[in-house]
């Protein structure tokens, strides 16, 4: 008796199933006592491992040694104290300015990611999510001609789990871009492409997939174009699609 659910229990407990599968398995556990008992056992093992695995403590002297090693600064004589004090003050000021600058950057980034998530959700909620409906990249790409001030390459999807659903023109911060929808298993993934220069936002050069409000998002910049890949698929799938796009962008 091999339960198809039993195979997913560990991934479930690691919190690595897609939200849809999580939901289904939650529902299944309410009805299947075998699986529920199995989950209980595994949770116990997990807990025991977590406690038992934190076993070795470093010696305090060793910690001190490493701390000194990485904070190593040349010694200075006492008459320079004032010079150092003012340098420290200047550094603190600079650090303050930098950190607030960094905070602003981060919140601007976060805002962009929320906007991307909004675009993704509102499009999927629409009755007509795409304006060009085709699984053929040779149909979808030319459709954007004359609609966008740039062009891009779409990956060959044969032999992959992904299918192209179609595309539409979209806007982010008054900049036109391409919105493509792909499907992997039952998940729809949006790919957004904009001109980096027109977007004029400080974003990660090349991010790994990150979770935000249950969406996984990955972004990067390639040949002047800014790509976003977002969806509720697993981060593995998001990354796979990102790799396909990156490879196509380079060719």
């Amino acid at each position: 008796m091999i339960d198809p659910w039993a195979a997913k229990l560990d991934t479930y407990l690691d919190g690595e199933l897609s939200s849809e599968e999580m939901h289904d398995l939650d529902a299944h556990l309410k009805n299947c006592t075998d699986c529920a008992a199995e989950v209980l056992h595994r949770v116990q093992l997990k807990r025991a491992l977590k406690a038992g695995g934190r076993r070795f403590q470093p010696r305090p002297e060793f910690r001190q040694r490493i701390r000194q090693q990485i904070a190593a600064k040349p010694r200075r004589s006492s008459w320079r104290v004032w010079a150092i004090a003012s340098a420290v003050l200047a550094t603190l000021l600079l650090a303050g300015v930098l950190s607030s600058h960094y905070r602003e950057l981060r919140s601007a980034r976060h805002e962009t990611y929320s906007e991307i998530a909004d675009l993704h959700v509102s499009t999927l909620a629409s009755a007509n999510p795409v304006d060009v409906l085709s699984t053929d990249r040779h149909t979808v790409k030319p459709w954007f001609q004359g609609k966008l001030p740039f062009t891009f390459n779409l990956p060959e999807l044969q032999n992959s789990d992904f299918t192209l659903i179609g595309g539409r023109v979209t806007y982010l911060g008054q900049t036109p871009g391409a919105h493509l929808i792909f499907q992997v298993r039952k998940h729809q993934i949006s790919v957004f492409i904009f001109q980096e220069r027109a977007l004029d936002r400080e974003l990660d050069e090349n991010s790994s997939p990150r979770k935000d409000q249950s969406f996984t998002l990955q972004t990067w910049s390639e040949s002047g174009l800014r790509y976003f890949v977002i969806g509720d698929a697993s981060s593995g799938d998001i990354e796979k699609l990102a790799d396909l796009l990156k490879a196509a962008g380079k060719s």
Partner: protein, 171 residues
């Protein structure tokens, strides 16, 4: 980036890295050498660290690569041939050793079993269960695809259960 930033990022990881190093080397003084070398290399390589990428995975990767090129690491990694097609099917439990582990007295037993696991299994279990890394982070740390993380993890869990069962029967 200044040295202060490196210290701020790296020192909070000190205890975990030491614990991990101890599990890999299974010897306190070798663990100290390994951690020291890791911090030296990381400090040197810090200017090339990509801000925004995962610092923790980066540190663990340095530690692990340093370990693998050490004498103990070479010996440990040479002993186990890994069978790794990317099937992610989980083995069905052979028994339920877990229930017995609720008792605190069995903690030693579990630690013993963890120590007996072949290196590739031990490290993936530690990263997942103790460090609570996501599959993505583990993939970055071990420089392997996510599919391999999943299949290795499921094999590691199976191996751990088998060792535990054996130990419990012997008792």
């Amino acid at each position: 980036m200044t040295a202060a930033t490196f210290e701020e990022l790296a020192m909070p990881l000190f205890d975990q890295l030491y614990n991990f190093a101890h599990w890999l080397t299974r010897d306190p003084s070798e663990a100290e050498d390994l951690v020291q070398e890791t911090y030296t290399k990381a400090l040197r390589g810090f200017p090339s660290f990509q801000p925004g990428s995962n610092f923790r995975a980066w540190m663990y990767r340095i530690l692990r690569n340093t370990f693998l090129t050490s004498r103990t690491g070479l010996a440990a990694s040479a002993t186990v041939p890994l069978d790794e097609e990317d099937d992610t099917s989980m083995p069905v439990a052979v028994g339920t050793p877990e229930t017995l582990l609720i008792e605190r007295a069995h903690e030693e037993l579990l630690q013993g079993a963890l120590g007996e696991l072949p290196l590739p299994y031990r490290e993936v279990i530690l990263l997942n269960e103790v460090e609570e890394m996501s599959y993505q982070e583990i993939a970055e740390t071990l420089s392997i695809p996510i599919g391999t993380v999943m299949s290795r993890l499921s094999r590691a869990r199976k191996a751990l259960r088998e060792i535990l069962l054996k130990k419990l029967k012997r008792k």
